[in-house]
Amino acid sequence: MAVCVAVIAKENYPLYIRSIPTENELKFHYMVHTSLDVVDEKISAMGKALVDQRELYLGLLYPTEDYKVYGYVTNSKVKFVMVVDSSNTALRDNEIRSMFRKLHNSYTDVMCNPFYNPGDRIHSRAFDSMVTSMMIQVC
C-alpha cells in the first residue's frame, strides 16, 4: 500500500503527486523532492553501458524511519516515486515492481490522450483512480 505516489517530469517538476494521509502532504512533497537526488545518482551510476537493457525500476531509493522510497524511471526520463510505509512488510520488491509497471501503463495511457499536453500536470480521472487503487489495496 503506497502512501504517496508521484510522477516527476524530466525537468524534475511534479506532474502528479498524491499522498495519504493528506495532512502530511508537505512532508511527502519534501521527501519525493529529496529522493530525486538519489534517482539522479542512480541514473548516472547506471551509466552508458546499460543503456539498451536498462532496468527501469530503480529499487529502494532510501529508507527513512517510517517510510521506504522507491523509484522508477521511464525511458523518457519521467520519474515515478512511490513512498511506502516501512511497517508494511508484505510489500516485496516484486510487488513494488508490478505496481510501478501498472503506474507506467496508466501513465502511458495518459500520454496517449490527444488532449493531454505533455508537460502539463496530470488531471486524469483514470490515472487518479488507478493511483487510488494502489494506495488502498493491501497487496
Binding site: 517538476y13 511534479p14 508537505l26 538519489v38
Partner: protein, 1437 residues
C-alpha cells in the same frame, strides 16, 4: 560540510592541548586587572609556541613538536554547568553571522545555480567553544591539568610566604576530597612559580631579590620573573599597540566575564546563568505550547514556533539579546592591555616559551617515561595476572550476565590509580605532545583492556582517540579506522547516554571524513546525531550535513535543500532566527520556480515569519506576497492562515511608516484590461408606464456588431448635420470604454456627470476577501479658467472632494476563487485632466471565518490599507514596419478622461411603448424628451436603421391629442365618417412625400424630431406622439434608435443617446396583388390606361388565440400616375371579414390620374363607414417610409443593371411598369383578458410590373423574384447576400450572366395593347346570303412613351394550335396587312371585316400584331401579342 579556516591536521591538535592551571594571589590579580585582563587571559594570545620543540620519547628517540599550544586557565572549582554551556554556545552561534559582503560561491549542479556561503564561521566558533568547554571527565585525561602556575606579585609584603600559601592552596584543591573538580593529570602536579612585577610601580631591585630567593628555593626551572605594566596608563594614547586580546576575548566574553569573579561569586553567576537558561527552556516550552496550529510536532510542518505574536511580546528574548549586546558593547569599549608595551608582549611570549621548555615539557617527558616504565615492568605480569583474576572472579558469573549487566558496566569506574588508566594517561600525554604513533599504540592497548573489562565509556574514549591518532600519524601508515569512531559514537550515545562526548566524536570524525572527501559518510554521521535534546546542535549538524551533500562529487542539490530546511527549522526552534532565515533562504534557491509549490509556499511562509520576527519587514512582505499571488494548491485553511499572517505583517509595516506611500497590495487580482469606464449617469429604471431609453450601460455586454451599427448610425446623422460629409475629425461617441473600444484618444467626460469605472477583481484564494472602503485613486490637473499664464498645473491626488467627488464602497466581498466586478464612481466638479490611477482599499478577511479556525473571535479582524494600480496596456501596434518587427503597444487612455464644460443632457422616455405587435400593426405611443442638464439643447434628431418602423407624423399632420392619457381609446388613424353611398368609388386626396419627412437627401434614416421650438430648455420636457408600425417580418426585432442633439453654444458639441427597442411581431395578414391590363376600352377618359388590380388578402395569423378576425376596412392606392377608381367585384358581405386562415380577394379598377409633379395621389376605397385619410399621418408616413426603403432597394437594382443597356430597352421595359402602390388598411379584433381590443394596421404592396405578383411580406417576395427574370435575379444576388439559400444560388449564377440584350417577349408584348371590338353574337341569314360580313374594330393602344411602329398581319396562320380547334374558319377581308405608327399613348382603331360562311363560334383573335420602336428599326422585331381568344357566335336567322 563547509570549508573551514583550519585544516583537520591543525584543528585536532589545537582542540587537545596541555592544560595548565593558574592560581593567582589577590595582588597579582590586581596587577593584571590594570589591563582589564585576568592572568590567564593575559597569556592567551601568546600561548602558542613560535618555534619547534624537541623532546625525547621513552625510547630516547628525538621527537619534534610543532606549533605546540598550551591552555592556561584560572582554576575553577566547579564543573561547568551544562546549562551555562548551552547558553554560551547559543550566544556564540548567534554572535557569529555571515559577513555582509561575503562572496558566496556559485555551485552549478544540473540546472541549479546556487549561491552558497563557502564558510560557516558560526559553526567553527561553535565547535571551538564546544571543545573548549568540555567538562573534564574521569575516563580521559586530555583536559586534565598538567601543571599549575602559582602567581604572586612582587609588590606583596611577603611574596615567598604568598607562594607557599598558594602552593598549599593548590595542594588542597587537588587532594582534598572536597573538590572533585578540577581534575588533575597526575598526583604530583608540576608547580611553576611566577613572580609578577609591575615595572611602572614596583621596586625592581626588590623584585630581583625576591626572584633570586625563589630561584634558590624552587630551582631556576621552576620559577619565573615576569615584568609587565611597563607604561603608565595615561601615556596610552601615544602609541598604537596592537591588541592581540580582542579576537580571543570578544568571542568568549561571557565565559571570561564569569572568570573575572573569584570562587564564591562564580557559583552565583553560574546560578544566574542557570536561571537564565531555565527561562530559556521555559520559553521553548511556552512557545511550543502556544502554537496556534496543531501540527507543530513535525519539523517539516510550518514553523509556528515563531508565531509573531508570541515572540514579539516575549521579554526574555529581548532581554537575552540586549544583554548580549551590552556585553559586546562593554567589550569594545575596554582597551585590553593598556599598560603593556611591545616589550611586555615579548616578555610574556618569552615567559610562555620558558615555561614550556623548562617546566612543562620536561615534566611531561618525565611523566611519560615514568608511566612507560611502570607499564613495561607490569606488562608481562599484568596481562596474565589481570586476565587470570578476571577469569577467576567472573567465571562463575558468566552465565548470569545479561544485557542489563552489560549496560551497568558502562558505569564501571576504575580507581584513579588503576593500571588500565595509566596506559590511557600515557596515551593522552603522547597525544598532547603530538607523538601520535605512540599514542595510537597505547590507545589501542587501552581499548583492548577496556573492552575486556566491558568498561564501555573508557573503551569508547580509547577508540575515539585511537582513531584520531591513527588519522594524525605522519605518513599515515594505516587507514583511518572509521569503524572505531562509529563504535565510539554509538557507545557514547546509546550506552553511556553522553551526548556531549558523542557530539565531540562526531565533530572530529566528520571533519576527518570530510578531509578524505567521504562526504556522504560524514553527512550520515552528522545526521545521525541530530536528536531532540538540543536544537542548536541539531541545526548546526544538519546544516553541515547539507553542505556535505552539496560538496559531493555529484552534488545532491535537493538533499542539500532539504537538510537546510531541517536545519532552519531547528535553528528557529533554538531561537537562532537569523540563522534560520538564512537556511531557509538558501533552500529556497533550490525550490524556487520548480513547480514544487507546496514546498515553496512553506518555505516562503517561514521566510516571511522569520523575516518578520527579525524586523525585516520588506522581506517578510515579499515572501508572504509570493505565497498569496501564486496559484496555490494549499487548502483553504492554510491559505486563510497565510493571508492573516500577511495582513498582520503588512499592518506592522504600514504602522512603521504611516506617512509613507500606500503599499501595493497583491490581492485580489485585477484584470486591468477588463476595466470598463462609463461616462454619464446611471440609467433610471422604467418608471411606471414610462420607459426610459436604454442608452448605454455597464450591464450591456459588448457586441461588436451592434457597436458597429451604432457607429454607422452616428456617422449618418453627423453626415446629415454636416451636409453630407463626415468631418475628418469625427469620432464616434463612446460612452462605455472597454477593451474593444478605441481607446487611443483621451475620452471626454462632462462636469457634474459621474464617471463609473468598473474594475474586475478576481480572488485566487479559496478564502473570501473583504475589501472595505474601496474607492478610486486619481490625480487631477485642474484647468484653471482664471489665468492661463499660470502654467503650473495643480496636481491633486485623491481626497479633494470639492474637485472630484469619489464614491466609496464600504464593503466589497469576494468569495473564494470568485471573479467580481466593482463599480466605482467619480463625480468631477471642475474642468481639467483626470487620471485614474488605481484603486485603494482595505484588504481584510471575514471575521466569521476566523472563528472556524479556532484562533478566536477577538483576533485578526484586521485589514490593511493599500492600493493597486490600474495599468492597461494598449493594443499592439501593427501599422508601420518598425512596429511590425518590434513589439510595441499603443496607449490606452481609458482612464485618463478630460473633463469638459457642461453639456446638455437628454433623457428620453417612451410612454405606451408596446412590446408585441402584429405585423403591420399601427400603434400610437408617446415620446417624452427631457433636458436634464443646465444647458439648452437643440438639433434633436433620431436615426434608425429601420425608419419604416416609426414616425413622428408629418408636417401636415393635424396634431392628435398630445397627452398620452387622452388618446387612450382613439384610433391611431385620422378618420372621417363617410356616408355609405360612396362605397364603390374612391375618395381622392394627394400629398407630397416632402411633407412626411422622408425626402431628406439620401438619408431617409435620419429623422429630425419636431420639437415645438427647436430648442429644449434646461429642465423642460416635451411629449410627442409617435406611431409605430410592426415590421412586416414575423419575429423579434431589435430596433436601434440613436437620438442626436447638440449644445446651443458656439461650438456645437454632439451628444447622443441610444435606445434599443425590442418588438415581437406576430403574423397577421399576407397581401398579394397583381395588376393587369384591362382589355376594355369603355372608359373613355382613361384613354386606354385601364388596369385591373387583384388583391388577395390572407389571414396568416395562426398562433394568436386572441385574434379573432381581421376586417379589411379600406384599400387605398398611392401613386404618381395611377389611382384606384372603384371596386369591381365587391360581393355582398361588405365588411370583408377574414377569420383565421381565410383568404379574400378584391378586384379594383385603376386608372391613370392627372400628372402632378412629385405628388402622390391617394385614392381610398372604403369598406366601412369611416374613411381613413391615407394621405395624412400616420398612414402616409408609413407608406412613404416603406416606399423609400423599397426605393432604396430598387436603386440598388438599378445600379445592378448596366448603364450600357440602351434606352430603348428601358423604354420597352417601362411600358410594362406601373408604380401603383396599394395600402391595405385593416382592423383586427382581439380578445385579451376577456376584453375586446381593436387593433389597426396597414400593409403595403408595391406594384411595379404588370402581370407580376407583388407581396406585402418581403420574404415571399424574395422567392418569387428569384424565380422571375434573370435581371431580377441579379438584384437578388446583390441585395440579399445574407440568407444562406442565396449563397447556394451562386452556383447557378454563371448560366444567367448573359444580360439579355433584347427585352423579353413578355415585355415587348406589353408595348401595344390590342383589343377587338365586335358584337358578341351576330345573326345572319345564311339562306339569304351565304357570306356573312362582320365589322370588327381592332383597337391598338400604345402603352409606351415612345413612338411605336406596328404591323398588323391578318393572314391566317394555322400554326396556332388553338386556332385549329375552332370549328370552321373565317377570313379577313380587305387589307391584310397594316403598317401604322403609334405615338406615345396613342390609341388607334382599325376597322376590319371578317367574313364567315357558316354558323358557329369563331375565334377572332388571329390578327398578329408586331411592334417595334420606330427609331430602332432593325433591332426589335417584335413577336405577336398573345391575345386572348375573341369568340364570336354566328347565328343563322
Amino acid at each position: 560540510m563547509a570549508q573551514c579556516v583550519q585544516s583537520v591536521q591543525e584543528l585536532i591538535p589545537d582542540s587537545f592541548v596541555p592544560c595548565v592551571a593558574a592560581l593567582c594571589s589577590d595582588e597579582a590579580e590586581r596587577l593584571t586587572r590594570l589591563n582589564h585582563l585576568s592572568f590567564a587571559e593575559l597569556l592567551k594570545p601568546f600561548s602558542r609556541l613560535t618555534s619547534e620543540v624537541h623532546m625525547r620519547d621513552p625510547n630516547n628517540q628525538l621527537h619534534v613538536i610543532k606549533n605546540l599550544k598550551i591552555a592556561v586557565s584560572n582554576i575553577i572549582t566547579q564543573p561547568p554547568q551544562p546549562g551555562a554551556i548551552r547558553k554560551l554556545l547559543n550566544d556564540v552561534v548567534s554572535g557569529s553571522q555571515p559577513a555582509e559582503g561575503l562572496v558566496a560561491n556559485v555551485i552549478t549542479a544540473g540546472d541549479y545555480d546556487l549561491n552558497i556561503s563557502a564558510t560557516t564561521p558560526w559553526f567553527e566558533s561553535y565547535r571551538e567553544t564546544f571543545l573548549q568547554s568540555m567538562p573534564a571527565s574521569d575516563h580521559e585525561f586530555l583536559n586534565h591539568y598538567l601543571a599549575c602556575m602559582l602567581v604572586a606579585s612582587s609588590s606583596e609584603a611577603e611574596p615567598v610566604e604568598q607562594f607557599s600559601k598558594l602552593s598549599q592552596e593548590q595542594h588542597r584543591i587537588q587532594h582534598n576530597s572536597d573538590y572533585s573538580y578540577p581534575k588533575w593529570f597526575i598526583p604530583n602536579t608540576l608547580k611553576y612559580y611566577v613572580l609578577l612585577h609591575d615595572v611602572s610601580a614596583g621596586d625592581e631591585q626588590r623584585a630581583e631579590s625576591i626572584y633570586e630567593e625563589m630561584k634558590q628555593k624552587y630551582g631556576t626551572q621552576g620559577c619565573y620573573l615576569l615584568k609587565i605594566n611597563s607604561r603608565t596608563s595615561n601615556r596610552a594614547s601615544d602609541e598604537q599597540i596592537p591588541d592581540p586580546w580582542s579576537q580571543y576575548l570578544q568571542k568568549n566574553s561571557i565565559q571570561n566575564q564569569e572568570s573575572y569573579e573569584d570562587g564564591p561569586c562564580t557559583i552565583t553567576s553560574n546560578k544566574n546563568s542557570d536561571s537564565n537558561l531555565l527561562s530559556l527552556d521555559g520559553l521553548d516550552n511556552e512557545v511550543k505550547d502556544g502554537l496556534p496550529n496543531n501540527f507543530r510536532a513535525h519539523p517539516l510542518q510550518l514553523d509556528s514556533s515563531s508565531d509573531p505574536s508570541n515572540s514579539i511580546d516575549d521579554p526574555d528574548h529581548v532581554k537575552s539579546a540586549s544583554s548580549l549586546h551590552e556585553t559586546k558593547k562593554a567589550n569594545t569599549g575596554i582597551i585590553h592591555g593598556a599598560c603593556l608595551t611591545l616589550t611586555d608582549h615579548d616578555r610574556i611570549r618569552q615567559f610562555i616559551q620558558e615555561f614550556t621548555f623548562r617546566g612543562l615539557l620536561p615534566h611531561i617527558e618525565k611523566t611519560i617515561r615514568q608511566l612507560n616504565d611502570q607499564l613495561i615492568s607490569r606488562k608481562g605480569l599484568s596481562r596474565s595476572l589481570f586476565s587470570a583474576t578476571k577469569k577467576w572472579f567472573s567465571g562463575s558469573k558468566v552465565p548470569e550476565k545479561s544485557i542489563n549487566e552489560l549496560k551497568n558496566t558502562s558505569g564501571l569506574l576504575y580507581p584513579p590509580e588503576a593500571p588500565e588508566l595509566q596506559i590511557r594517561k600515557m596515551a593522552d600525554l603522547c597525544f598532547l605532545v603530538q607523538h601520535y604513533d605512540l599514542a595510537y599504540s597505547c590507545y589501542h592497548t587501552a581499548k583492548k583492556d577496556f573492552l575486556n573489562d566491558q568498561a564501555m565509556l573508557y573503551a569508547a574514549g580509547a577508540l575515539e582517540m585511537a582513531a584520531v591518532s591513527a588519522f594524525l600519524q605522519p605518513g599515515a601508515p594505516r587507514p583511518y579506522p572509521a569503524h572505531y569512531m562509529d563504535t565510539a559514537i554509538q557507545t557514547y550515545r546509546d550506552i553511556c547516554k553522553n551526548m556531549v562526548l558523542a557530539e565531540r566524536c562526531v565533530l572530529l570524525s566528520a571533519e576527518i571524513l570530510k578531509s578524505q572527501s567521504k562526504y556522504s559518510e560524514a553527512a550520515a554521521l552528522l545526521i545521525r546525531l541530530t536528536s531532540e535534546d538540543s536544537d542548536l546542535r541539531s541545526a548546526l549538524l544538519l546544516e553541515q550535513a547539507a553542505h556535505c551533500f552539496i560538496n559531493m562529487k555529484s552534488p545532491m542539490v535537493r538533499k542539500y535543500a532539504f537538510h537546510m530546511i531541517l536545519a532552519g527549522h531547528r535553528f528557529s526552534k533554538a531561537g537562532q532566527k537569523k540563522h534560520a532565515l538564512r537556511c531557509y533562504c538558501q533552500a529556497m534557491q533550490v525550490y524556487k520556480g520548480k513547480g514544487w509549490s507546496l514546498a515553496e509556499d512553506h518555505i516562503n511562509f517561514t521566510i516571511g515569519r522569520q523575516s518578520y520576527t527579525l524586523r525585516q519587514l520588506d522581506n517578510a512582505v515579499s515572501a508572504f506576497r509570493h505565497i498569496l499571488i501564486n496559484e496555490s494548491k494549499q487548502s483553504a485553511a492554510q491559505q486563510g492562515a497565510f493571508l492573516r499572517e500577511y495582513l498582520y505583517v503588512y499592518k506592522n509595516v504600514s504602522q512603521l511608516s504611516p506617512d509613507g506611500p500606500l503599499p501595493q497590495l497583491p490581492l485580489p487580482y485585477i484584470n486591468s484590461s477588463a476595466t470598463r469606464v462609463f461616462f454619464g449617469h446611471d440609467r433610471r429604471p422604467a418608471d411606471g408606464e414610462k420607459q426610459a431609453a436604454t442608452h448605454v450601460s455597464l450591464d450591456q455586454e459588448y457586441d461588436s456588431e451592434s457597436s458597429q451599427q451604432w457607429r454607422e448610425l452616428e456617422e449618418q446623422v453627423v453626415a446629415v448635420v454636416n451636409r453630407g460629409v463626415i468631418p475628418s475629425n469625427f469620432y464616434p461617441t463612446q460612452y462605455c470604454l472597454n477593451s474593444y473600444s478605441d481607446n487611443s484618444r483621451f475620452p471626454l467626460a462632462v462636469v457634474e456627470e459621474p464617471i463609473t469605472v468598473e474594475v474586475a477583481f478576481r480572488n485566487p484564494l479559496k478564502v473570501p476577501l473583504l475589501l472595505t472602503d474601496l474607492s478610486l485613486l486619481w490625480k487631477f490637473q485642474s484647468k484653471d479658467s482664471s489665468g492661463k499664464d499660470n502654467e503650473e498645473v495643480k496636481e491633486l491626488v485623491t481626497g479633494e472632494p470639492e474637485m472630484i467627488g469619489t464614491e466609496v464602497i464600504s464593503e466589497f466581498l469576494i468569495n473564494g476563487e470568485e471573479s467580481k466586478v466593482a463599480r466605482l464612481k467619480l463625480f468631477p466638479h471642475h474642468m481639467g485632466e483626470l487620471h485614474i490611477l488605481g484603486v485603494v482599499y482595505n484588504l481584510g478577511t471575514i471575521q466569521g471565518y476566523m472563528t472556524v479556525d479556532g484562533i478566536g473571535k477577538h483576533s485578526l479582524s484586521m485589514s490593511v490599507r493599500g492600493r493597486q494600480d490600474l495599468e492597461i496596456q494598449g493594443p499592439r501596434l501593427n501599422n508601420t514596419k518598425e512596429e511590425k518587427t518590434s513589439i510595441k503597444y499603443g496607449p490606452d487612455r481609458r482612464l485618463d478622461p478630460i473633463i469638459t464644460a457642461e453639456m446638455p443632457l437628454l433623457e428620453v422616455f417612451f410612454i405606451h411603448f408596446p412590446t408585441g405587435l402584429l405585423c403591420g400593426e399601427i400603434r400610437k405611443a408617446y415620446v417624452e424628451f427631457v433636458n436634464v442638464s443646465k444647458c439648452p439643447l437643440t438639433g434633436l434628431k433620431v436615426v434608425s436603421k429601420r425608419p419604416e418602423f416609426f414616425t413622428f407624423g408629418g408636417n401636415t399632420a393635424v396634431l392628435t391629442p398630445l397627452s398620452p392619457s387622452a388618446s387612450e381609446n382613439c384610433s391611431a388613424y385620422k378618420t372621417v365618417v363617410t356616408d355609405s353611398t360612396s362605397v364603390c368609388t374612391a375618395l381622392i386626396s394627394s400629398a407630397s412625400s416632402v411633407d412626411f419627412g422622408t425626402g431628406i437627401g439620401s438619408q431617409p434614416e435620419v429623422i429630425p424630431v419636431p420639437l415645438p421650438d427647436t430648442v429644449l430648455l434646461p429642465g423642460a420636457s416635451v411629449q410627442l406622439p409617435m406611431w409605430l408600425r410592426g415590421p412586416d417580418e414575423e419575429g423579434v426585432h431589435e430596433i436601434n434608435f440613436l437620438f442626436y442633439y447638440e449644445s446651443v453654444k458656439k461650438q456645437p458639441k454632439i451628444r447622443i443617446l441610444r435606445h434599443t427597442a425590442v418588438i415581437c411581431t406576430s403574423r397577421s395578414l399576407n397581401v398579394r396583388a397583381t395588376v393587369c391590363r384591362s382589355n376594355s376600352l369603355e372608359d373613355e377618359e382613361g384613354r386606354g390606361g385601364n388596369m385591373l388590380v387583384f388583391v388577395d388578402v390572407e389571414n396568416t395569423n395562426t398562433s394568436e388565440a386572441g385574434v379573432k378576425e381581421f376586417h379589411i376596412v379600406q384599400v387605398s392606392s398611392s401613386s404618381k400616375h395611377w389611382r384606384l377608381q372603384k371596386s369591381v367585384n365587391l360581393s355582398e358581405n361588405k365588411d370583408a371579414k377574414l377569420a383565421s386562415r381565410e383568404k379574400g380577394k378584391f378586384c379594383f379598377k385603376a386608372i391613370r390620374c392627372k400628372e402632378k409633379e412629385e405628388k402622390y395621389t391617394f385614392a381610398d376605397i372604403i369598406f366601412g363607414n369611416e374613411q381613413i385619410i391615407s394621405s395624412a399621418s400616420p398612414c402616409a408616413d408609413f407608406f412613404y417610409r416603406s416606399l423609400s426603403s423599397e426605393l432604396k432597394k430598387a436603386q440598388l437594382s438599378v445600379h445592378a443593371e448596366k448603364q450600357s443597356i440602351e434606352d430603348a430597352v428601358r423604354l420597352i421595359q417601362k411600358c410594362s411598369e406601373v408604380d401603383l402602390n396599394i395600402v391595405v388598411l385593416w382592423k383586427a379584433y382581439v380578445v385579451e383578458d376577456s376584453k375586446q381590443l381593436i387593433l389597426e394596421g396597414q400593409h403595403h404592396v408595391l406594384l411595379r410590373t404588370i402581370g407580376k405578383e407583388a407581396f406585402s411580406c418581403p420574404q415571399k417576395q424574395v422567392i418569387t423574384v428569384f424565380f422571375g427574370s434573370s435581371s431580377d435575379f441579379e438584384y437578388l444576388i446583390q441585395d440579399h447576400r445574407e440568407p444562406p439559400e442565396m449563397e447556394l444560388l451562386k452556383f447557378f449564377r454563371p448560366e444567367n450572366t448573359t444580360v439579355p440584350l433584347r427585352p423579353s417577349v413578355e415585355q415587348l408584348s406589353n408595348l401595344i395593347k390590342t383589343s377587338l371590338h365586335y358584337p358578341e353574337s351576330f345573326n345572319h341569314p345564311f339562306h339569304q346570303k351565304s357570306l356573312c360580313l362582320v365589322p370588327v374594330t381592332l383597337l391598338l393602344s400604345n402603352c409606351s412613351k415612345a413612338d411605336v411602329d406596328v404591323i398588323v398581319d391578318l393572314r391566317h396562320k394555322t400554326t396556332s394550335p388553338e386556332a385549329l380547334e375552332i370549328h370552321g374558319s373565317f377570313t379577313w377581308l380587305g387589307q391584310t396587312q397594316y403598317k401604322l405608327q403609334l405615338k406615345s399613348q396613342e390609341i388607334h382603331s382599325l376597322q376590319l371585316k371578317a367574313c364567315f360562311v357558316h354558323t358557329g363560334v369563331y375565334n377572332l383573335g388571329t390578327p398578329r400584331v408586331f411592334a417595334k420602336l420606330s427609331d430602332q428599326v432593325t433591332v426589335f422585331e417584335t413577336s405577336q401579342q398573345n391575345s386572348m381568344p375573341a369568340l364570336i357566335i354566328i347565328n343563322n336567322v
